[in-house]
């Protein structure tokens, strides 16, 4: 009797198992679909709501901008066939055959609508207005010509257009000032673009589905359907790829790379990115909050001390051991040959602990001092491990360093209230050129001009400031690049900030998928093709 009772309990479970096995067999993806595991779900489908990588990489797949950035962020014609700047007036010639995914043609009026909508989007947590700096007026000259007037000569306008993909004025018609609202766009209403794929559905937290845009003006997109699935846990992303659930994953953990590379069914793609990991050193005044043993002095004001700290760091070893080889040691804040990077700073200086000790002695700190290094934990690849290693290297030359690792939210709060004498952070140069990097990180902070916004070390060098500021008006690319390279050399000779390494972005995929990585770390499916 008792045994019979137990069997009754077991039966439903067996049935479920059998059912499940059949389900798995039926659920296999078809050959021409691409399933991508994203590490972060976008916050919205509105291409003008939140300037954030997870959002931008998807909206750039639905909507083509006037100008596209290629894998190295070099501007190339997209919806605009050509453009030219004449002082403050820019003229963009549109490609005549561009159609939206609903089949209607893309005209200059759509461009005007798109650019004018940006400031009207309410409650944007991170506005796209940064791409419209200095823009005064946008006009449609004829259906295929757009004229943009800036308040002063502004060479970055073309590259800024990459951030503003073109929306359809007709599909966006609505009663709100911004046309269709962000909420409407999130449900797919109004999501009509001229990109290679078009929107099908979004189930928050579960999946986003795109399909091929039949009206696409460019080469035929490689996939019938693209399914994005947010899988935030890195180990779970790898497991999903190994199990064959997904075809392409972002950011596999560095510890797993060796194993993934050896797997004959998989392929690993890496791409040097423009995200630099740096250490900022407080150069504001004395005393500095995280430094003790110096009798109230701030040793970081002394260039020799900053040089000593830089020389103490063995960047090669750091990249090889802590970063698993997927990073490049950095000698400046943007890798050469990106725009405005100096060709004299292509190789990081070799570590030299003896010279570091000598410099510290010369600066009057023969016994070093004690310092705290702040770092976020979980924002950049292996961030707290990298900071620990740097702290150990500094301690070796006499600067006794402990690290203060915090969740990103806490770290940024501390950093923004100048609570650190030294902190490690990262900077991804969205425009792919040096003026963005220097303006944000090293130019003397000026609220009215909107520069030096992330210069928390408060480094200030009028010579470098002037070079960067004057470069902003140089319409000649060669002259501008030279001025920025010079500015970069000045800052690095000052040891204004210590560049550590450039992160590499890593993607892992099945053998039958090919994906070209991008320097801006974005996963854009138009760069994924079938391998056989």
């Amino acid at each position: 009797m008792r045994i019979a009772g137990r069997r009754r309990f077991l039966n439903p479970a067996m049935l479920a198992l059998a059912a499940a096995a059949t389900g798995a067999a039926m659920g296999t993806a078809q050959a021409r679909d691409l399933v991508v595991a994203l590490k972060t779900e976008p916050t919205s489908m509105d291409p003008q709501y939140h300037a954030l990588t997870p959002n931008i990489q998807l909206s750039q797949t639905l909507f083509d901008p006037l100008v596209c950035g290629d894998a190295d962020l070099v501007p190339k014609p997209c919806v605009a066939e050509s453009w030219k700047a004449d002082g403050k007036v820019w003229t963009f010639k549109l490609r005549p055959n561009v159609k939206f995914s609903d089949g209607s043609p893309l005209t200059a009026d759509d461009v005007v609508f798109t650019l004018n909508r940006v400031p009207k989007v309410p409650n944007s947590p991170s506005s796209f207005k940064v791409y419209l700096q200095k823009v005064e007026k946008v006009e449609a000259v004829d259906p295929l010509t757009v004229r943009i007037t800036t308040s002063e000569p502004y060479p970055l306008l073309a590259i800024n257009m990459v951030g503003l993909p073109i929306m359809s004025a007709k599909a966006m018609a609505g009663s709100a000032p911004e046309g269709k609202t962000t909420t409407e766009l999130n449900s797919g209403n109004g999501l009509v673009g001229a990109g290679p794929y078009k929107f099908v559905s979004w189930k928050r937290g579960a999946e986003i589905v795109f399909e091929r845009n039949p009206h696409y003006w460019g080469p035929k997109p490689a996939w019938d359907k693209v399914i994005y699935r947010p899988i935030s846990n890195p180990a779970a992303r790898v497991a999903a790829l190994l199990a064959g659930d997904v075809d392409l994953i972002e950011d596999p953990p560095t510890d797993d790379l060796e194993r993934l590379k050896k797997d004959p069914k998989l392929r690993v793609e890496t791409k040097a990115s423009n995200r630099v990991i740096y250490v900022a050193l407080d150069q504001h005044g004395a005393p500095s909050p995280g430094i003790t043993d110096t009798g109230g002095k701030n040793p970081l004001l002394d260039k020799r001390v900053r040089e000593a700290l830089s020389l103490a760091i063995d960047r090669e070893a750091l990249v090889a051991r802590v970063m698993g080889g997927v990073a490049t040691p950095a000698a400046q804040l943007l890798p050469y040959p990106m725009f405005g990077a100096s060709d004299k700073l292509t190789k990081a200086a070799k570590a030299d602990p003896d010279k570091a000790k000598a410099l510290l002695k010369e600066a009057g700190y023969p016994n070093g001092f004690t310092m705290v290094l702040g770092t976020p934990n979980g924002r950049y690849i292996n961030d707290s491990k990298v900071a620990q290693t740097i702290a150990a290297m500094w301690t070796r030359v006499g600067v006794k360093t402990s690290i203060d690792a915090n969740a990103p939210a806490v770290f940024f709060k501390n950093r923004d209230s100048y609570a650190y004498s030294a902190y490690m952070a990262g900077w991804g140069t969205a425009t792919g050129e040096m003026s963005n990097t220097l303006n944000s990180l090293l130019v003397t902070p000026d609220k009215d001009r909107g520069v030096g916004t992330t210069n928390r070390s408060r480094y200030s060098n009028p010579e470098m400031d002037k070079l960067v500021e004057s470069s902003a008006a140089m319409m000649n690319d060669g002259a501008r690049a030279a001025a920025l390279a010079r500015a970069s050399e000045i800052a690095m000779a000052d040891f204004a900030m210590l560049p550590i390494h450039f992160e590499h972005s890593v993607w892992a995929m099945k053998k039958n998928v090919r994906f070209q990585g991008r320097a801006d770390q974005q996963t854009m499916v138009q760069y994924a093709t079938q391998a056989n």
Binding site: R6, G205, A206
Partner: protein, 325 residues
């Protein structure tokens, strides 16, 4: 009975108010949501504008007062990050979590109670030792490890089940459920098993203890003496009397699973609300965190209330009016 329920609901309101205040202060101390949201290139002026838009420039007390006055009208504000109503975002994901919790707890119950009774009836048998050792493993193995191992074995090596996601769902009224499709079952099985293992271990232990306590009772002996079959004794006399502790544990654990299935949901990329909470805490999306916790407090109070009501149904000696919550 009615006064009892009303009193419980009033208490829930008080807890919700206190808790929302704590969360407000807590998140305020942790960091500035604007520095998590704004693009790093945003100027100070941009940041100030964002702060103004979300009302973050006002004193904390005023922000809280505004929140409370809206909350009384059941408006919990909009998520900073997505601009969507916070409660809507949570309710959208709640069915997935509830479904997972129900399947997991049902699995735990269907396996745990019979095994527990068996272990209680045969305390010295080899099979019982096996069950008890297994149950120790069940609740001492960490959840995320069990989940990853299940994925490794069933999805990666054997390839029987998919590793993650929710798969196809079928619509049942307003609810979309995966248990109605085969694909859905294949996906819910592993995460549910991960949760069920720990919960099952607990239920086995409780059932066994209750069984051993009930066995020497006079009514069991009397039933035996009457010559009733064991099956009838178990079902009618034993099971009825050991149900109270099982219901208690089941209720508490069910609430736990719904509120904090975060780890399992993250590993299996299950689109439930636990993952939403985690993401919102990381990005300091205060409206979502507050709305989530308010909902969970309400839910836990409701589960406890239901358990108390069940007591009075199962055991006529229990009177709700006297119960102190």
């Amino acid at each position: 009975m009615l006064t009892f329920i009303i009193r419980r609901l009033l208490q829930a309101l008080l807890v919700m108010a206190v808790m929302s205040g704590l969360v407000f202060v807590g998140l305020y101390v942790v960091g500035d949501p604007v520095s998590m949201m704004a693009s790093p290139e945003a100027t100070e002026l941009d940041r100030e504008e964002i702060r103004r838009n979300f009302g973050l420039d006002r004193p904390l007390l005023e922000q809280y007062a505004v929140f409370m006055s809206h909350a009384l009208r059941l408006d919990f504000g909009r998520s900073f990050l997505t601009g969507q109503p916070a409660m809507g975002l949570i309710l959208e994901r709640m069915p997935a979590t509830l479904e997972l919790a129900c399947v997991a707890m049902l699995m735990a119950l269907l396996v745990g109670v019979p095994l527990g009774i068996w272990a209680g009836l045969k305390p010295t048998a080899w099979s019982t030792r096996g069950i008890m050792t297994g149950s120790v493993l069940g609740f001492s193995l960490p959840n995320f490890w069990v989940g990853l191992m299940l994925i490794m074995v069933f999805a990666v090596y054997l390839g029987w089940l998919p590793a993650s996601g929710r798969g196809q769902v079928a619509q049942l009224g307003p609810l979309s459920l995966s248990v109605l499709t085969l694909d859905g079952w294949s996906r819910i099985l592993l995460p549910a098993l991960t949760i069920a293992m720990a919960k099952c271990a607990l239920i086995i232990r409780v059932t066994r203890a209750a069984t051993r306590e009930a066995l020497p009772m006079d009514y069991i002996k009397f039933a035996q003496a009457k010559g009733l079959t064991w099956g009838r004794i178990l079902r009618v006399h034993l099971l009825k009397n050991i149900l109270i502790p099982i219901v208690t544990v089941f209720g508490l654990e069910f609430g736990q699973v719904v509120a904090f299935a975060v780890v399992t949901e993250t590993i299996f990329a299950w689109p439930g609300m636990g993952k939403l909470l985690l993401d919102s805490i990381i990005t300091l999306d205060r409206p979502v965190v507050v709305a989530y916790l308010i909902l969970i407090v309400f839910f836990l109070v409701m589960v406890n209330l239901l358990v108390d009501i069940l007591y009075s149904v199962l055991d006529p000696r229990v009177r709700l009016q006297e119960a102190k919550a």
